[in-house]
């Protein structure tokens, strides 16, 4: 069908010039059957989403390496402290609830933005940031306890080595996410966020935030469920 466009480009104008020799969708758009053009346009995904999907894909590979290392070394320590001795579940569960809830609040924020209610959007963004910040605070408190009460550092044993790097890298990603969310909130307070124009961008930011949450589910399972086996029952 659209071969007509090419032939027209070649024969019609004689020598239309090198760069335009193949005719164009814009100038000669009429030569392409509308159905063809529409079908073609329909399955080209947005480059922003593709880019973010690629980032998430490669970040997943990065976390996989640390999770593999954690599982590879789980239970191999010959000297303590071991996860069973020092990791406490209740505060971590509260933490996890906070982080996972922030995935819900950011969905509400985007829904508010889609409806055009910028104030509601700001409110839900603030909630998201506070929940994320609480998670970070919780991680910090946990680390402080481990360092102070159990003298567990990254150099103490394999548990310390793998625990601090895996949980630390997750916390680092939460921090980056929080910075971006705060930036968005500040821009919005300054009146720079326009619902129509920016919904897509903030949607991409929410992809990242959801990714950080999903990683936490894997980290939690690795560190606090699989890696925290009681003595004798563990790997």
């Amino acid at each position: 069908m659209s071969s007509a466009a090419i032939r027209q480009g070649a024969g019609g104008a004689g020598a239309p010039g090198g760069a335009g020799a193949l005719g164009g969708a814009g100038a000669r758009g009429g030569a392409i059957t509308p159905g063809g053009a529409a079908r073609d346009a329909a399955w080209r995904p947005s480059r922003g989403r593709l880019g973010m999907a690629c980032l998430i894909f490669s970040e997943s590979a990065f976390f996989c390496a640390f999770i593999v290392a954690y599982l590879f070394y789980a239970g191999r320590d010959r000297s303590g402290p071991t996860p069973w001795q020092v990791l406490e579940l209740p505060p971590v569960i509260v933490n996890s609830v906070a982080l996972l809830s922030s995935s819900v609040t950011i969905v509400f924020a985007l829904a508010a933005l889609r409806r055009g209610s910028v104030n509601l959007f700001r409110g839900w963004m603030l909630a998201t940031i506070l929940l994320g910040a609480y998670f970070l605070y919780g991680t910090g408190a946990e680390w402080a306890g481990l360092l102070r009460d159990h003298q567990l550092t990254i150099a103490t044993n394999l548990f310390g080595t793998t625990f601090y790097s895996l949980v630390g890298f997750h916390a680092f990603h939460v921090t980056v996410g929080l910075l971006l969310l705060s930036l968005t909130l500040v821009l919005s307070l300054l009146g720079h966020v326009h619902p129509q124009r920016d919904h897509g961008r903030i949607d991409l930011l929410s992809w990242y935030w959801h990714f950080v949450d999903v990683v936490w589910i894997f980290v939690f399972t690795t560190v606090y469920v699989v890696g925290r086996q009681p003595p004798g029952g563990g790997s």
Binding site: G17, G18, A25, Y73, L158
Partner: protein, 559 residues
Amino acid sequence: MSTLTSHTAQANDSIGDRGLMARLHQWTVTVDHKRLGIMYVGSGLLFFVIAGIQATLMRLQLIAPVNDFLTPDTFNRLFTMHGTTMVFLVGMPVLLGFGNYLVPLMIGARDMAFPRLNAFGFWLFIFGGLLLYYSYIGSAGLYGAGSTPDAGWFMYAPLTSRTFSRGNATDYWILGIMVSGFGSMTTAVNLVATIFSMRCPGMTLMRMPLLVWMMIVVAVLILAVMPVLTAAQVMLLFDRSMGAHFFDPQHDGSALLWQHLFWFFGHPEVYILILPAFGFISEIVPVFSRKVIFGYPLMVAATVAICFISLGVWAHHMFVAGLSPFLNALFAASTFLISVPTGIKIFNWLGTMWGGRIRFDVPMLFATGFLSLFIFGGLTGIMLAVVPFDWQLSDSYFVVGHFHYVLIGGTLFGIFGAIFYWFPKAFGKKLDERLGKWTFWIFLIGFTLTFFPMHISGMLGMPRRIYTYQPDRGWELWNLISTIGVPLQILGVLILVWNILRTLVRGKPCGDDPWDAWTLEWATSSPPPEWNFHEIPVCTSRRPLWDLKHPDDPDEHYE
């Protein structure tokens, strides 16, 4: 093509004669994928010269037994820097540079999806390369020990621990490669986004040139494995700087984990280095055989199959590490398996040439050279996949010969072919054919002299990475021949460099489409304007330019 009038003058206008500083500034701040592509290839070739000098020094040391031209320490540093440079600072940037230059042109786009990210990736690569080479100056650190990394390009633990690698050399290796790895990852993100979202009307996935298919698989592989290398490097950095125990056997850490993580990256990496060359060959062979590529869908399927299988073969680098027999068998089997899609490609290229009107211009010479040498390297690869055979010859010169056949005979011949084929695209001038043929034959002979005898010295028991050897082993002759090949290779490369410089200065314009090719990049002027196409092209088949030239017999009737 007479209808394709030249826009060379117009394109040159944008560069203009505005003084050196103005030009330099323009190239520095550019986000144009074509300029970035040229800078990628150019800086990759600079690093190639450095790595070549390192290799020459090593071959000079090995020319005779008990030679004392280099000290053992210097030799260790040379082979480490040679390997690291060739893989990360030559192979990656040159191949990604070609991808950068060609992909948007081939799919009818005006630039990459994220032009600024593209420039950022390039400068990260440069910065990473400089960081690695800064170790020559800065790595002594407070300890006053060490110069450049010296544990081999795969940096096995525990050689990289603080105990055995004092000074900061290993840290420079970690950071330099990590930074240039970030550059590769941004380029990979860009390639995926560009190829999926920026194709011109009519350019369906199954109409894309095969090089574009190869680049998308390369991008996916980079995204899958480069972060794993980064993670392993971060662990090593923690070990070295904070006393963590990831790879520290004295605290129950495991040297084997480094091997697993490194080769999980390292084996797909060799496919990252060879797939773009497959793409070059897939573009060159049809044009110079005057036939369509044989079995296009099968080529695509084979490429995707290589992508998946290559993620499951890494432990064949570790047969000598003492894995379980089950794992050995598994990884031997997956390695045999990956030779199937690779074989499919070889037969498809041969099938394309079969019955064609073959023109042996320089690109085609390199393509046929690629075919023969790559088959040879591939076959020794299959031999090494046989576990007992690998136990015998792992870490010997047989392995060195094998991977140089694949990476020089394969990748580098592909790159040389690509340089000759697309040089007219980038600069509007054809490289000299006669000098090109000299380069090809001299380099081929030098290559064979250097690398073929390595298989023999390897089978005679010569281990890789030794700085010298005793005279009674029967290795002298083979090492002598290996070293004799080196000046020939240097001469071949010098002729190529001379050819490029001479053509840039004195070459005559050759028109927009000197090879009578069929893919979209030749549909615009040579060199293309900054915006690539005045009007976004439309295509209806895999060879849009053939359709344009032969309106009476378009490809869409046959696809």
